[in-house]
Structure formats: C-alpha cells, structure tokens
C-alpha cells in the first residue's frame, strides 16, 4: 500500500492580494519500502508537503490517500495515521521534555493507548534502533550531546512503529561525522525493517548515496521526480533554482567537457574514482604515455 497525493495544493489567503501557494498541484505516489530524498531550498514547500502526509496540515484542494483511504475525510482516524506516518521535525531535540530519556521515548506509544509493558518494550527497541547505549537511558535528555539528543528524538517517533518515517533535515547542525552516523543509522534501519523513509534535505550530496529516488521541490511544485542519477543530469537547471548537484557531478561534467571520456553519471566519490581510472587508463592507451 502507499501514500498517494492527488492534485494537492495548499494556498494561503486564497483569493486575496496576499495569496501564496505553498504547494501547487502536487501528484505523487510513495510506495511501501522506498527510500526517498525530498530536496528543495528553504521555502520550496518541502516542509509543508511532509506536514500534509500525516494530516497536520490540510490541503486547500486535492486529496491525500493512505492505504486507499482519504485522510482528510470526516471520521478518518488521524491520530492513528500519525503513528503510522511518523514525522520527525527539524531540530527534533527541541521537543524533548521528560525527566529522563526513556520516559521521553515512551511518550509516543503511551499516547497510542498501549499497555505499560508494550510501551516500554517499544521504547527500548526504538532506543536500540537509533544506537543509543543503555547507560544514557535514565539520564536527563538535556545532559546529552547534540547528536545523542537527536537520536533520542528520532527514537521517540520510531517507538510508535511507523510504517513511513519522514525526517525533516535530520542532520542540520551536526558535524560531518555526526551527520554520517545518523544517515547510516537510518539506512540500516530501513534495510532491517523495510520501512518507507522520506528524507527531507537541502543537500543532494548527503542523500545521493542513500536514496532510491529524489523528489525536487521548487516554488511549491514538483520539479523533478526520478532516480538520483537522472535528477543530477539536470544539474544546470538545479543550479538555476538555487540547488546544486553533488560536487562529483560537476567534476565529471567538467572532465568530459575538457575531453576526458568519462561517464558523467557517477554520484559518489567511489563511482567517480572508478570511472576516472577507467577513462584515464583508456586515454593512456590512446596517448601512449604511462601514468603509473
């Protein structure tokens, strides 16, 4: 089953001079188990879009279906939906409030009305999933480091056992290692549980090596929706709207333009390396000189 967005628009102050379209005729299908990168600069509508997926915001026109049911229909259980479509906001550590880490993670499952035992089992499981050591469980969440707090906050959503996990800029403000750790953890979680993941980011470089599909938002509309390689081919258009393809894309394009016969589809450093080695090897043959 899937999330389907059918002609979804969200327009503020419609019909007045101050009309602003936060979303404009968005059509998307998010199938089970996919790993999606949702990219756009600030104000492109990506954060608005994800708040529609769990019913926090209502479209001003169009429909959103979760497993075939219209989520904005009267009588639809939106509270249940929010446990199925887990949304982790930007800087989620700012919403921690309990006296210890474990209690904070219990908040979500407790709100679902589960038994005490089930709540605790889930909280424990979620904290393990984000890779937090047991020794931190009974500390105040405010005493943890930035990266740890962020993990606790993510665990707080995972504990509801969502089928879809949406993370709004989960790496904002973290140092490079912290960023890689969080992303690796999410990738591993997805591999283990098969959960659908939507990763909101403004960095193509960060998501390129993880996701199956990239959705690029611009001015409230979907600009590109394809697998990463195909999206990065539009690197010039992306630049025009204030986004950038990964640096390797530029390197490969530039090498190609200067006459080295490399494929330009590499999206990670490893792929680029192999591609260049292959090309240089061939050009060595052609040029007759030695490079090693």
């Amino acid at each position: 089953m899937a999330i389907i967005l059918d002609h979804v628009s969200h327009i503020y102050e419609e019909g007045t001079a101050m009309e602003v379209a936060a979303l404009r005729d968005v059509n998307l299908v998010i199938p089970d188990g996919q790993f999606i990168g949702l990219i756009g600069h600030t104000g492109s509508g990506k954060s608005t879009l994800v708040q529609h997926l769990n019913g926090l915001m209502k479209p001003t026109s169009g429909n959103i279906y979760y497993n075939g049911e219209d989520i904005n229909e009267d009588g639809f259980d939106r509270k249940n939906l929010r446990s199925k479509v887990g949304l982790v906001f930007q800087y989620p550590e700012h919403q921690l409030f309990e006296i210890d880490v474990f209690k904070d993670v219990c908040f979500g499952p407790k709100n679902m009305g589960l038994t005490e035992k089930e709540v605790q089992l889930r909280a424990y499981g979620a904290l393990k999933q984000v890779g937090l050591e047991d020794e931190y469980f009974y500390q105040s969440p405010f005493d943890l480091s930035g990266g740890q707090k962020r993990r606790v906050a993510i665990a707080g959503v995972l504990a509801m056992k969502p089928e879809v996990l949406i993370l709004d800029e989960p790496t904002a403000g973290l140092d490079p290692k912290g960023r890689d750790e969080i992303l690796d953890q999410i990738a591993m979680l997805r591999k283990e549980t098969g959960i659908t993941v939507v990763l909101v980011s403004h960095s193509m470089e960060d998501v390129a090596k993880y996701v199956d599909r990239i959705i690029v938002m611009n001015q409230g509309s979907v600009m590109y929706d394809d697998e990463p390689r195909a999206v990065f081919r539009h690197y010039r258009e992306l630049e025009e709207v204030g986004l950038a393809a990964p640096q390797v894309t530029y390197i490969m394009q530039e090498l190609r333009r200067q006459g080295l016969e490399v494929g330009t589809d590499a999206i990670t450093v490893e792929e680029a390396r192999d591609e260049i080695l292959k090309a240089v090897g061939r050009s060595r043959k052609m040029g007759g000189g030695g490079i090693y």
Partner: protein
C-alpha cells in the same frame, strides 16, 4: 604581536550535581597557542564539543582564561579597563541568527553597537549605511528582521558588528543553521570584508568547503589544537581529519582516492578546476 594572540590558554569549568557538589572539572580549552596577524583569514575547525566555540568566546572577553593569557590588539582580556575596547575591536557573530538581532528594524539593529559605544547620532547613520552596503543588505534597511531569510539575518548581524569598526570579526559557526544558499551568501560577505576592508576574520565552522580560502586553519579536538596549517596542508591529511570527526570536500576526497589508486596527483586539491588541471597533466588527454 598580532591582532589576536593566545598563550597557553586553558579554560576549565566545574561540573556540579543537582545539590551543587563538585562532580568534576572539564577542561574545554587545553593549552592553546594562537597568533593571528592583522588582515588574516583564519579558520578554526572542529567537531561539536571540540572546544572551538569556547575558544572563540575568549577572543572578545565573553569568557576569561582559567590559566594563560589572551591579548586582543595587544590588550590582556583579563584587564577590566580594556573590556569595552576589546569588545569593540574584536566583534562577534553567533550561530543562531534569531538570537542575536536586537532591533525590530534592520537599520536599528545595525545601529545598536555604535549606540552602546556612544557614537554621535550623525556618525551612527553613516556607519549603518556603509555597513549595510558592505554586506549587500542596504535595500533591506527598513525591513523587519523576522521577514528575512537565515542568510540575510546573518549578514545583518555581520553589519551590526562592522558598524562598530572592529579590527577583527570572530564568527562562531555563523552558517550552522543555514541552508546552502544562505551559507554561500554569508561566506561571500565575510571574504569580501577580509579582502576589501582588510578586516581580520576568525571563522569557526565544521563545513570544510567554507575554509578553502582561509590563510590558515586550526583543527581543534578535545580542547587542544590537533592540526594547523594552510587549508591545503590540512586537507591533504584526509585520514586524520576523519578521525577528528570531520571530512573533506568531495573533490579533495576524490583526488585522495585517485592518488591511493596510483595516479600521481599533488596533495590537498581543493577545487574542481585544480583536479581537472592536475589530471590533465597525468592522462595526457588533448
């Protein structure tokens, strides 16, 4: 003597439990020596919790050393009579753009520093105008800061510091909360100030691509300086940087990987152009 100098700078803070009993002492800055010359662009790198922000706060007397000494423009920061002179000559820009703008209107915020310094009204206006122009925010002077983007807010903050006519600006992770466009805006503004106005820049960050134009970089870890040198020297030590929870720009990493695979490339390649140029020499294409 340089504009900023630190000798054996140590900063310790005491951790206390809920009842106020001493739990232990944490050394956030550990025997740091710095010597920054007027007009330099210096970057201080380090992962979260490496002590780089604590160090930065010593450079304009927000924090005072537990041991050792910091001189700003030749003045010891411990000497109370120089406090306001030090804060004027070493301006500071902080991480969160919302939490450092005091004014309700852009121009009023930029005027806040000069007002505090007792600058005459007419001159405040001149300073505000030139500062806002220096960061390209003059046309927003009548706007409310709440309506600006993150990058614009940070540029206003920078203008607010320039209006105090500092010799040196310390930027404590000014881009950590910004998107890539905002980051570029801020770094561009900072570089222009360094090159055009010859203002000394101390940029604290963990984004490696922001420091490629720096004259010198320090890498902090556990409170002490773990590496120092030009960005090129620093970036050629990829493995060490990774151990310090940092990374290098993709192009540098690619060059490093190619070199490991046997292609003879120079160390510490920083830009796409450099890599293309270097490969051209190697592969003999065209």
């Amino acid at each position: 003597m340089g504009i900023i100098e630190a000798k054996k700078l140590i900063f310790e803070y005491i951790r206390r439990d809920e009842d106020g009993n001493v739990e232990g002492i944490t050394r956030a800055v550990d025997e740091v020596d710095l010597d920054i010359r007027q007009g330099d662009f210096v970057a201080i790198l380090g992962h979260n919790g490496s002590g780089k922000s604590t160090l930065a706060k010593h450079l304009n007397a927000i924090l005072y050393p537990t041991e050792g000494t910091v001189w700003v423009d030749g003045k010891d920061t411990m000497d109370e009579k120089y406090l306001w002179e030090i804060r004027q000559s070493a301006g500071m820009v902080f991480q969160n753009p919302d939490n450092q703008i005091i004014g309700q209107v852009v121009e009023e915020d930029v005027g806040f520093g000069p007002e505090n310094m007792g600058v005459p009204t007419k001159e405040i206006w001149e300073r505000v105008e030139e500062s806002l122009k220096a960061v390209g925010m003059y046309k927003y002077r009548k706007h409310s800061p709440n309506k600006l983007s993150g990058g614009q807010k940070q540029r206003v903050s920078i203008a607010g510091v320039i209006a105090m006519h500092p010799k040196c600006i310390i930027l404590d992770e000014p881009t950590a909360m910004l998107d890539p466009n905002g980051r570029k805006e801020v770094i561009r503004a900072v570089r222009a100030l360094n090159q055009v106005e010859n203002i000394t820049i101390v940029l604290i960050t963990h984004y490696m691509e922001e420091i490629i134009h720096a004259d010198k970089a320090f890498v902090m870890d556990k409170g002490h300086v773990a590496m120092q040198g030009t960005p090129r020297e620093i970036f050629s030590r990829v493995e060490e940087l990774k151990e310090l929870r940092l990374d290098v720009p993709q192009v540098t990493l690619l060059a490093y990987e190619l070199k490991k695979s046997g292609i003879a490339l120079p160390d510490g390649i920083l830009t796409c152009e450099e890599l293309v140029q270097a490969l051209r020499g190697v592969g003999k294409w065209q």
